[in-house]
């Protein structure tokens, strides 16, 4: 027990150290970004004035090894425009900018070729969400269990992703199995560097699923959340 707790402490200490070094290196690498990075952080605290202390608590909690992701996440949003800042950044950027653009639009139409894109991004309240490559990414269960890797993506005739094929189990490439899981059963968090792809299905559901085969009608083998009771026969319409 003692051993384990000391290990945890050491692990958390190294994790902290890594984060600190990562944070320390980032401004050094690109100086101009450091101001942009510093700017949003106070805004969060300003936006939530009564909870300044709770924010500090949250920061303290974030330092525990259980979820070592928040600090990298906090450094990532300025680059990738993650969710926590959407509330703060979008209204802040929105208010001063649109009126001049609209004015410019009416007065001289040839002037702004680029800004309209920026406007369309900000006006529909959905900043371009961050994306990641999923092929080859490890998939984890909700409890952090290793559920295999994404090896393929199945799309329908509308071009929408319908399912991800995950490859799991086996030893050194022997005895692994493939199943197709419903695309919506995956939670993809690009800001999470370690576990960006989380599968919302249980190990039992995945085990009971029919094996994914290239040649057969793959849509019949897709495992969905809805089929939780009878995972082997997902009621998927053709």
């Amino acid at each position: 027990m003692n051993h384990r707790s000391t290990w945890r402490k050491m692990a958390s200490a190294t994790a902290l150290l890594l984060m600190l070094t990562a944070c320390a290196q980032r401004p050094a690498r690109d100086e101009p970004d450091s101001s942009a990075q510093a700017a949003p952080a106070p805004q969060v605290q300003q936006a939530l004035p009564p909870t300044a202390e709770t924010a500090a608590d949250a920061a303290a909690e974030a330092a525990t090894p259980a979820d070592a992701q928040p600090p990298p996440a906090s450094s990532a949003p300025p680059v990738t425009q993650g969710k926590p800042y959407a509330f703060v950044c979008v209204p802040y950027d929105d208010r001063p900018k649109p009126p001049p653009h609209k004015v410019v639009h009416k007065d001289m139409p040839q002037a702004p070729p680029a800004p309209p894109a920026a406007i369309s991004n900000t006006t529909d309240q959905k900043p371009p969400s961050a994306v990641i490559s999923v092929l080859g990414k490890k998939v984890f269960g909700r409890d952090g269990e290793d559920m295999g890797r994404v090896v393929d993506v199945l799309a329908d005739s509308d071009g929408r992703a319908r399912a991800a094929v995950i490859d799991f189990g086996g030893f050194l490439g022997v005895g692994n199995r493939r199943v197709a899981v419903d695309w919506h059963s995956l939670q993809i968090d690009p800001s999470n560097a370690e576990k960006p792809v989380i599968l919302g299905l249980s190990r039992e559901q995945v085990n009971a699923a029919p094996e994914f085969k290239e040649s057969a009608h793959p849509e019949q083998a897709i495992v969905t959340d809805r089929a939780a009771g009878t995972p082997a026969a997902p009621p998927h319409p053709q």
Binding site: G136, D152, G169, G170, F171, L172, G175, R177, R203
Partner: protein, 441 residues
């Protein structure tokens, strides 16, 4: 090259060192080979490769290995220093492992697959030729038993080491580890440098001498000699048996492992690891005895023992045993692998060992084995998809039974008749204890 004038005590010492070197070499090479094979697919998936691209890469490897079996065998026959061939083959492994690890882009992966496919085909025959040159035909079975023992230790250690490396460090680290292990393999070859060179001078009936004779003969006669070796009835029957054996054997572990993954869940990886390591343990324990018995009693009983494990294993797997029993049934694979692994180079050396076309003949048998392995994985997968894994196991058991019956009916004993039973133990080499042999069945 070692000075060729060695004799007496020094020769014995160098003989001992050479045997030890060969032991280590077998161990390291088996360790290296663990990283290639099915694991390549896992690694390429982790690098974001698509299934199509992975399929192409693996097919390139398979096709290269198949196409180069026979030419590689002929090449090893032609090259004087088998140790040099072995060293170059291992260095090719280093190169391909590093290519996998550093540049996993299609060009280098395809190149690495080609390099690995070809050098695998030169390495096996080179090791067999070194063994034959080192101990002669009388003790070949014993020496091959030692080879198999150390190779299986290497396989087992490799599987454990690479498996741990893959899951705790990274998939990429496996290939760096593989590249690192090639260095001790090359060092292990150092005492073997002179084997090919000394043998002709001291032992006239050894294969290298006859190879030289064959080289100097007119081309027509040479070709006729090659054909005589390759069309030897025993070699053809054995090749057919070996093909059927591999056909029945190759898909059994993957099939059993995938049923484990279906039924056990997160413990499956551990159990599959056990399914891979346990047979290696059995081979390590049994193969010296198998080699000695082959030298003393003959090849046929051991061949029949090894082949008969196949239908038995298929039937047991078809009964859908519990996961623990699956691991235990894999012990039968160990017995089969010990017998088969030793008999392939041994029977080939019985047939072609004096002809100067030993490794060419090994290439032919290897080609037959390759066909069996390639066809059967597809076939068994198809049967398992359409009729279930139970039927697939029964089918594989049937093929195994056919192989056993073919062996029983047509395959003659190939042990050189002029050798008295005790001759093998005289030459057994260091580390071989010839006691209590009469009591072994």
């Amino acid at each position: 090259m070692l000075p060729s004038g060695q004799s007496g005590a020094t020769a014995e010492v160098s003989d001992h060192a050479a045997n030890r070197g060969l032991d280590w070499f077998n161990l390291c090479v088996a360790n290296i080979q663990t990283g290639f094979g099915p694991f390549v697919a896992v690694y390429l998936v982790s690098q974001g490769w698509t299934q199509t691209a992975i399929g192409i890469a693996l097919s390139i490897g398979t096709v290269t290995a198949m196409a180069s079996q026979v030419p590689a065998g002929a090449l090893v026959d032609a090259v004087r220093s088998k140790a040099a061939v072995a060293a170059i083959s291992v260095l090719a492994f280093t190169a391909s492992a590093l290519m996998f690890a550093i540049y996993p882009i299609p060009l280098f992966v395809y190149l690495a697959e080609i390099l690995h496919g070809f050098s695998s085909c030169t390495l096996g025959p080179a090791v067999a030729a070194i063994s034959l040159a080192l101990v002669g035909r009388a003790a070949m079975g014993t020496r091959l038993g030692r080879n198999a023992r150390y190779a299986s230790i290497g396989n087992g250690v490799g599987a454990a080491l690479m498996g741990a490396c893959g899951s705790y460090v990274s998939e990429r680290a496996v290939f760096f580890l593989t590249a690192a292990v090639t260095l001790p393999a090359v060092f292990a070859l150092l005492p073997l440098r002179g084997v090919g060179a000394i043998a002709p001078a001291t032992a006239p009936p050894d294969p290298d001498t006859t190879a030289v004779v064959a080289d100097t003969a007119p081309p027509g006669a040479k070709r006729a000699a090659v054909m005589r070796v390759l069309l030897d009835r025993r070699l053809l029957i054995f090749s057919a048996c070996a093909m059927l054996f591999t056909f029945a054997n190759a898909p059994m572990l993957p099939l059993a492992a995938s049923t484990l993954t279906t039924r056990v869940g997160h413990l499956a990886s551990l159990l599959i690891g056990a399914c891979i390591v346990l047979p290696q343990l059995i081979v390590a324990l049994a193969s010296p005895a198998v080699g000695r018995i082959a030298d003393l009693r003959g090849r046929r009983p051991l061949l029949l023992l090894g082949f008969s494990m196949l239908p038995l294993r298929g039937l047991l797997f078809a009964m859908m045993p519990s996961p623990t029993l699956v691991v235990l049934i894999q012990a039968l694979d160990g017995i089969a692998a010990a017998c088969f692994g030793i008999m392939v180079p041994l029977i080939t050396s019985d047939v072609a060992g004096r002809s100067g076309h030993y490794t060419l003949s090994l290439g032919v048998v290897g080609f037959a084995i390759g066909i069996g392995a390639t066809v059967s994985t597809t076939a068994a997968g198809w049967v398992a998809d359409h009729f279930g894994s139970q039927i697939a196991f029964l089918g594989l058991a049937g093929v195994g039974l056919a192989a056993t019956l073919l062996l029983l009916t047509f395959m003659p004993e190939t042990r050189p008749p002029q050798l008295p039973g005790s001759a093998a133990t005289d030459d057994g080499g260091p580390g071989v204890v010839p006691t209590r042999l009469a009591h072994t069945p």
